[in-house]
């Protein structure tokens, strides 16, 4: 079985984002960029399925600027076999991303398409579900456990009330939650090897997908700031304060 994995180049999760003064967005100039953490988990899960003998080939796909090549090389260094970069300098919304990924899925015919549940920049949490809808495939979102067999995959999902398990017929879409696995670091030899793995360059037009934005960004602002309050010096004082809030007697 072939597995497709989608990866996005985003601001590194350790960097605190700064809103631009003119309100046009978040300042990404000279900011460290990395693979979206949920996508790293997706790549790792695909590799583990290959190590278990369930998957035979892993193809990593990214849609973004030329520099997204670095993100794909990271996926290749972790263990993906080849990569496809759909290059564009436009910001592509989840619906258009899903349309491009659906076209790639039709070409590549994977058994599983694994994506991160959300990107930590726009926090949409939508691409995987949209991709599943466009392909008419079942979806296992927010996965914390994935067990794939010949013609089905059992996915344990992190939902508000606990853990839900669903069984999906392949081909299927899975989106990853944090506790699915801990992604490996690529070793130096593997980073070197990744440089010679195939990376195909494409454009959105190659797939006939219109990537025009549906959502116009009106403005971006800083969130309202909370002011630091007071410090109390003893538990007795804290108890008095909690009484004042009406939550203690």
């Amino acid at each position: 079985m072939k597995i497709l994995v989608a990866v996005k180049r985003v601001i590194d999760f350790n960097v605190k984002p700064r809103v631009k003064m003119d309100g046009s967005g978040v300042d990404l100039a000279n900011v460290k960029m990395s693979m979206n953490p949920f996508d790293e988990i997706a790549v790792e899960e695909a590799i583990r399925l290959k190590e278990k003998g369930v998957a035979t080939e892993i193809v990593a796909v990214s849609i973004g600027p030329a520099k997204a090549q670095e993100t794909l090389r990271t996926a290749l260094a972790m263990g993906a076999d080849r990569a496809i970069l759909v290059q564009t300098d436009e910001e592509v919304e989840p619906l258009a991303v899903a349309k491009i990924l659906a076209k790639i899925a039709e070409e590549e015919q994977p058994g599983l398409f694994i994506l991160g549940k959300q990107a930590i920049d726009d926090d949409n949490n939508a691409t995987g579900q949209m991709l599943a809808a466009l392909l008419g495939w079942p979806q296992g979102t927010f996965a914390s456990k994935v067990e794939a067999a010949n013609d089905n995959v059992t996915v344990t999902r992190e939902v508000d009330g606990g853990l839900e398990t669903v069984k999906l017929k392949l081909p299927a879409v899975v989106t990853t939650d944090l506790r699915l696995n801990e992604p490996r670091y690529a070793s130096l030899p593997n980073i070197m090897k990744a440089k010679s793995k195939p990376l195909a360059a494409k454009s959105p037009a190659d797939y006939g997908v219109d990537i025009a934005r549906r959502l116009e960004l009106v403005r971006v602002t800083e969130p309202p700031k909370r002011q630091a309050g007071i410090k109390v010096s003893s538990v007795d004082e804290l108890v008095e304060r909690l009484k004042g809030l009406g939550i203690a007697k």
């Binding site: 984002p17 619906l95 899903a98 930590i120 920049d121 926090d123 949409n124 949490n125 939508a126 995987g128 579900q129 949209m130 991709l131 599943a132 809808a133 466009l134 495939w137 079942p138 979806q139 979102t141 927010f142 914390s144 999902r157 992190e158 939902v159 508000d160 009330g161 606990g162 853990l163 839900e164 398990t165 669903v166 069984k167 999906l168 017929k169 944090l178 506790r179 934005r213 549906r214 959502l215 116009e216 960004l217 009106v218 403005r219 971006v220 602002t221 800083e222 969130p223 909370r226 630091a228 309050g229 410090k231 109390v232 538990v235 007795d236 804290l238 108890v239 909690l242 809030l245 939550i247």
Partner: protein, 309 residues
């Protein structure tokens, strides 16, 4: 403008997040509520009583049990022929289904809406709440998910909307429900609790986390939450997690104990009315957002606090 909202329920009762979604939907137009499930007559009746709901559409069939997106999304997508907007709560339920509906009707979803400026302009957090974006949708129909803590809850009683049966569609045949491992529900749910006590990695073990926090939560009638670090360390189950990638909460009082206050965590609780922080490190970032802080050893403070309440 007419709005279809997707009711979240567990077969027994309607989830609170739905009530906030009704309020948000009411800002867009007349609200009709879609109740999908198996044997949902009583849920449909309860939805009909929600103040602000003008009509209830009941899609009742065995294959709609367990909220499978593959089966529910086509039902909603078909109904959208007659509506201008689709609204779902931004819970794991709504997040699972709404984008699937959006793609089926070729609409770019606006996720996690915290403000509605007009019928096409919405406010939403991005970058884990470190920035707030205002976006204007050019799609002819809108699909939005609504953050429950950002809107008042509609009254669960007072309405008397008619209930209409609608086509329940067909089973996709591609997915099936296997099991649900529900977490202990003795306490209030995190997203609707008035008081939350939340613990971090400083507790050191699952045993200490529960031995110290559970009695305090019992005294306060509070829900128990946890930081991502505490969940990753295995001290608390995953659905306790408060933060960007966990639950977004806004209780009357949030008591953060042994939590340093990573951006990730703050994104999930900084809209709480009052934040109380207990931490041994007086430089911890949590104190920059806390209304009331107490610096000290949680292993001494928490038992003393529980004893004195």
């Amino acid at each position: 403008m007419s709005v279809l909202i997707l009711v979240e329920h567990d077969g027994k009762s309607i989830k609170d997040a739905t009530l906030a979604a009704v309020t948000a939907a009411g800002k867009l137009g007349e609200v009709h509520a879609l109740v999908a499930g198996n044997n949902v007559a009583s849920i449909a009746d309860a939805a009909a009583k929600i103040a602000g709901v003008a009509k209830v559409l009941a899609a009742d069939a065995p294959h709609l049990d367990h909220e499978l997106a593959e089966n529910i999304a086509p039902v909603a997508a078909k109904l959208m022929d007659g509506y201008d907007a689709f609204v779902a709560p931004a819970t794991t339920f709504g997040k699972n289904i709404a984008p699937r509906v959006a793609a089926l009707i070729d609409v770019m979803q606006v996720s996690d809406v915290i403000g509605i400026e007009d019928a096409s302009t919405f406010v939403r957090p991005i970058y884990a709440g470190n920035a707030i974006a205002t976006v204007k949708s050019s799609d002819s129909k809108k699909v939005i998910t609504v953050r429950g803590t950002a809107f008042d809850k509609a009254a669960a009683d007072g309405g008397s909307a008619p209930v209409e049966k609608v086509d329940a569609g067909q089973a996709s045949g591609t997915s099936e429900f296997v099991s649900m491992d529900a977490s202990d529900s003795e306490r209030p749910e995190l997203t609707s609790a008035k008081v939350i006590v939340s613990g971090g990695r400083a507790f050191g073990s699952s045993e200490q986390f529960h031995a110290l926090l559970d009695p305090l939560a019992d005294k306060l009638g509070a829900a128990v939450g946890a930081s991502r670090a505490a969940v990753d360390a295995g001290y608390a189950p995953n659905d306790y997690q408060v933060g960007q990638t966990g639950k977004i909460v806004a209780p009357q009082v949030y008591i953060a104990i042994g939590i340093s206050g990573a951006i990730q965590h703050l994104a999930g609780m900084k809209d709480s009315k009052t934040i109380v922080a207990i931490n041994k490190d007086e430089e911890a970032p949590i104190f920059q957002v806390a209304d009331i802080g107490l610096v000290g050893d949680l292993f001494k403070i928490v038992p003393e606090l529980t004893g004195k309440l």
